[in-house]
Symmetry: D2
Subunit: 392 residues, 4 copies
């Protein structure tokens, strides 16, 4: 990276799981992509005494104990929000009003109302050249980006079916503790918001279509759990002080229709024993089909239905060729990427949009669209699974 390229200071709020992976993205992006701007890891904000240690480990130059201070700093041009969903709206709106570009973790917010306020703030900010983006990182899996290209190129024809699942198993054990992701006030919802939001966004992104309505079921299998002590990533231990109520869904199933006339099914659960991070998407079209599973993230399976039947079948495309999305920046074919690369690609695209003066995607409006689907799911589930249109 050339020193003649403008430097943009980044301030990150939160440094747990998402903060660690965002840090790796900011740290690495410039070594692999020829960026128009140079990101500088300027400030880390966190409330605990451990923030300074975290900053040293993760490579942030300075520390603030209050995100409001971080937003005020002149050396911060970008605010990267890695906190739980309950604080997204407040931080993002404040940052945008302060003229800072915002990259906000998903889900955009815990409620549609918050998300609407964020979209309004993003709109006003954009008029002033201040940009915003919601971090649905799975759009930047090379295989998912390739899937989007193939659909857009017409390789699938008319979309008939979408089959989306996000299967994990980390709370299968009833004694797994009551971490913040299982508390409605912090997480907004359970599997639905945390991982269901990803498959809704991914399905809409890849198909280029929106869900028009849903019928849904949700369930909380384990209604009480031990109170939680420390956690790291998705792991945690009980703190031995008693038990508390699980106030979110353990699993959400919904079926719906796409704006192009296809049918879609979705399932988000943390009770699929043996499935660790199985974000799966299968799309069947009139001319072909695609299948993806994040547990084998470097592979995209494609069936070309225009081939002679005797010659056709799902082919495993290793998405590591130089003409695949993002892949030329990395290693030779067959030398796969990992989870964190999706974030490196995300900040790369974000920085390019900032430099180009364009709106990065997914926008806050995209995040709101997902939020409205989640709301419709909850409404349908609470209303006898009745068909619930996605409005707005």
């Amino acid at each position: 990276m050339s020193s003649s390229r403008p430097a943009l200071g980044v301030g990150m709020v939160g440094y747990a799981f998402m903060g660690r992976v965002h840090s790796q993205a900011w740290r690495s992006v410039g070594a692999f992509f020829d960026l128009p701007v140079t990101p500088v890891m300027a400030v880390l904000s966190g409330r605990s005494a451990r923030t300074a240690d975290a900053a040293a480990t993760l490579g942030w130059a300075a520390v603030e104990n209050d995100w409001k201070e971080l937003i005020r700093r002149e050396d911060v041009h970008i605010v990267d929000i890695c906190t739980p969903g309950d604080s997204h709206a407040e931080i993002a709106v404040a940052a945008l009003e302060a003229g800072k570009h915002v990259l906000c973790e998903k889900p955009l917010a815990n409620t549609v109302a918050e998300a609407e306020a964020m979209v309004a703030a993003a709109g006003q900010a954009a008029a002033r050249g201040v940009r915003s983006m919601v971090a649905f990182n799975y759009r930047r899996v090379p295989a998912v980006a390739l899937a989007r290209q193939m659909v857009a190129d017409g390789r699938l024809g008319e979309i008939r079916h979408v089959r989306a699942q996000y299967l994990q198993d980390w709370i299968t054990d009833p004694e797994f503790p009551l971490v913040w992701r299982l508390q409605k006030d912090k997480a907004g919802s359970g599997a639905l918001g945390d991982i269901g939001s990803h498959i809704v966004d991914t399905a809409q992104f890849v198909t280029g279509q929106n869900l028009t309505g849903v019928s849904a079921l949700t369930e909380t299998f384990i209604r009480e759990r031990p109170l939680a002590g420390d956690s790291a990533g998705l792991a945690a231990g009980a703190d031995g002080t008693g038990r508390g109520e699980v106030t979110v869904d353990d699993a959400a199933l919904f079926i719906g229709r796409l704006s192009g006339g296809g049918l879609a099914s979705f399932e988000a659960t943390r009770f699929a024993a043996g499935r660790k991070n199985a974000l799966r998407l299968e799309i069947n079209g009139s001319l072909g089909s695609l299948a993806f599973d994040f547990e084998a993230m470097n592979e995209l399976w494609f069936h070309d239905h225009t081939l002679p039947a005797g010659d056709a079948g799902f082919r495993r495309i290793l998405v590591t060729e130089s003409d695949h999305p993002y892949a030329a920046a990395w290693w030779p074919p067959g030398h796969g990427l990992g989870y964190e690369h999706t974030f490196t690609h995300e900040v790369k695209d974000f920085l390019e949009a900032l430099a180009a003066g364009t709106d990065p995607t997914p926008s806050f409006a995209d995040g709101l669209r997902v939020q409205r689907v989640l709301r419709a799911v909850e409404e349908s589930a609470a209303n006898d699974s009745r068909w619930t249109a996605i409005t707005g």
Copy 2:
């Protein structure tokens, strides 16, 4: 097989796809299983002039042009019904009343009312020692039977999720003709009854639980097709005389709850390009998970969640070991079976039940239970996807 074992004459009605595979089952079963009775391929009934040729090819000793004649024959002890669903009730009830054991292809009937009449007739017949069975052959895939055993043995613990799909693609092309399977008067319903019935039965069989209610969507993507000429299996050509209306569903999606508290999703479609006969079932329990796909029918995937996490993963059990269901009768490990073997196993179990004087399963009551799920699906789909309890 010893000649001292009683011979039972079989009369088969219909000799298309199902008739061919049932014939192979009757022809082969005695060479592999040590049966208590000896089936004799006595009579084939069909309406066309080709029936005699079919009987010669398929190995039936005699021919009747009218199934009512077949039922009357003294050399027929078992009536095997391989016709489309619209004639099942009439033939089965008549046969049972005539004192013939009945093996009836699925779905049991085209309507719940017909199925109820059949169950009533089966009950009266059973009182007289006359047996009946509905031919959900996929229960006799060794891997599916093994799955049932493993669930019954408690290897999965509490069932949290069932994910059932039956994906085919043979009518993806809008110019595929209007075969009988696409006509409501003959087939009753489309993908729902033809293949959806299989996954409902298989899921209920393997879990040992019933669906208590559903919320559903159905769709007919292609509403008009060329009129059909001859067909064979699932293949067919247009006859060039015009177009007709598709009066059944092309696809059905539904979500539901199991009697044990788990959630289930179902999808039946003939529009999944590249999926040929993908009857898929995944079950997640508190202690383990199972996954199956008929396209690899000799494999059952099992995740043992009681193993240390670092040592666990889905294992591919080749269901060809001598202690696997049905497998000892066939070949050494790794020498797989095919589609037709499920029918051979079916008639083997049927004959053993006849000899033992017990009721074979799946019973007509099991078939009715499936039929009630299908009706609830159609009702929900017609009623804003509203939750529809499975009654009766």
Copy 3:
């Protein structure tokens, strides 16, 4: 099948594993294929008192205790040899001289000398219109036949690599008894002749090329085993009377060159724990690659290297389409076949050749070619792995 078609009586010698599967082939072939001749399961020959029971179970009309009597019978036109390799030459030569067509199990013989005598007899017989064939059944796996077609059609370009393995695990346990397959006088060799012969034939068949030379290693891991009692298929128990020496190889590895300039590697073993019947073949050519594993026998994996790199990958062709070899006779797409079908295809092709008056393949000469490779492997292994040309 029309009664106007000439009937050909079949006499089968031996009724263990191979006899059971051949019987199923003879029993089934006419129901699925429109044959020019009608095979009649006339006579079964065996030395034990159980032969009559076996004939009843397997569907043979008559019994002879001596194969020489079987050969003399006028109602026998075809002799099907299903005995161990040490008797092949004697029976086959006698049958051919008696004017009977011969289908002989593989390996053709236990020595090159025997095989040469059989080829000579076959040549003399052919001059009189009497046909012979060696039963390398894996050529008739639809996926293998399709692979052959694709190579012949030039889809792979120049063959660079063949990677052939036949992996089983049924003698991994040192206490597995000393069955006839582990005794040199009966079996000729161990893994090499039993399963190595299959991969040599399959590789030569699919590529259309011959091995020109090899360098080899063989090993006997367990040199002494309990004496064997009864066996069935590949299963057996010890008889408790002591231990005996294993006189064949447990595993054979060899590398070689193909007549077209490619390199090939072969491995045959019964000590590959967890691999049950993994006959695997991968071929890499300048224009594409193929991969096959019999444990998933309905699948052929094809990589089309002429596609753009970004779009290419190994595709899983389910070899169940109506234009695939043999598949139209059976079931709709995705409804797979099993092990025994390869034998049904074999007798179908054999009968068609008889009717057409042509020489069926693989011929005894093909069997001899395999035998010469096996001999070269043993010579190389005994001679410091030195390069050993395949002659003759």
Copy 4:
């Protein structure tokens, strides 16, 4: 990382493919692992005018045009050699003599003589507390490290078979240019040294055994290629100035014996169309088997042969659990790693050994052991594939 930990300056020689990935390792390691020392990316050495740009992009603080200058610098404590094999010996010996710890890319050298000199220098250096390591990075794939643990824990019992392949396809096209990797003077050998060395080391590492001898074939399919222009990673273009001779092997096959009595086969090729970076290892033991393919690098397949046969099968262990090697440092289960992480793990282990004052592995002696296998392969291939013992 705490500032109280001693800083160690790193000087890297070469910045092509290996230099880029090593840079990412040095850049990232401290953010994920709690290191006893702090690596500082001090100096990059390269001969071209682009070195300064590379240093800026890759994050190196200073630049030297001559590696001899780099070795002299006091701020360099570690020399990381990322050049082609022909310069390894000279640089490594000089660096060790200058008291610098050395991390050297593989293969250790282009000849056994060079490797022996390096081992001698490493021995003398070690006596002075100066450490050395050869960068067989695949040992640090978590799945490979887990495989090693499982073998060492006795999970496989006695090793019967090793099946190792390294399959690539990047020179399948005869018009792919004559890059340095195809020139004997620079690369030493072709597929054999470049990728064959990896599978030899990986097989010996995982089994904990050495190869005692080999029998080999090598081949150069395309003997002349266009002269090369610029290259990046494994991609390159022709420079239009003519054609030159390929002086290395395109493929190498060899079979051998392990010190524990098992048989092993190896294949290294760049002509396996459709295989991109398929480093594959399968090991069969008396108690279990393991299978690995780098194209799915987060998966290890394990068959536990001590389970009941009816319950056993190859299980797919996603090697992302917190108790798997290296995995706790990264992301939650199912969130996979990529190629570059193997290098991050490598420098982590290297730094820990430096801090602990122990010899890191693989040592130069391990590298020499691989080199001797490669020499034996070449000798056998040149000598009629005769058995060639691995000496020394």
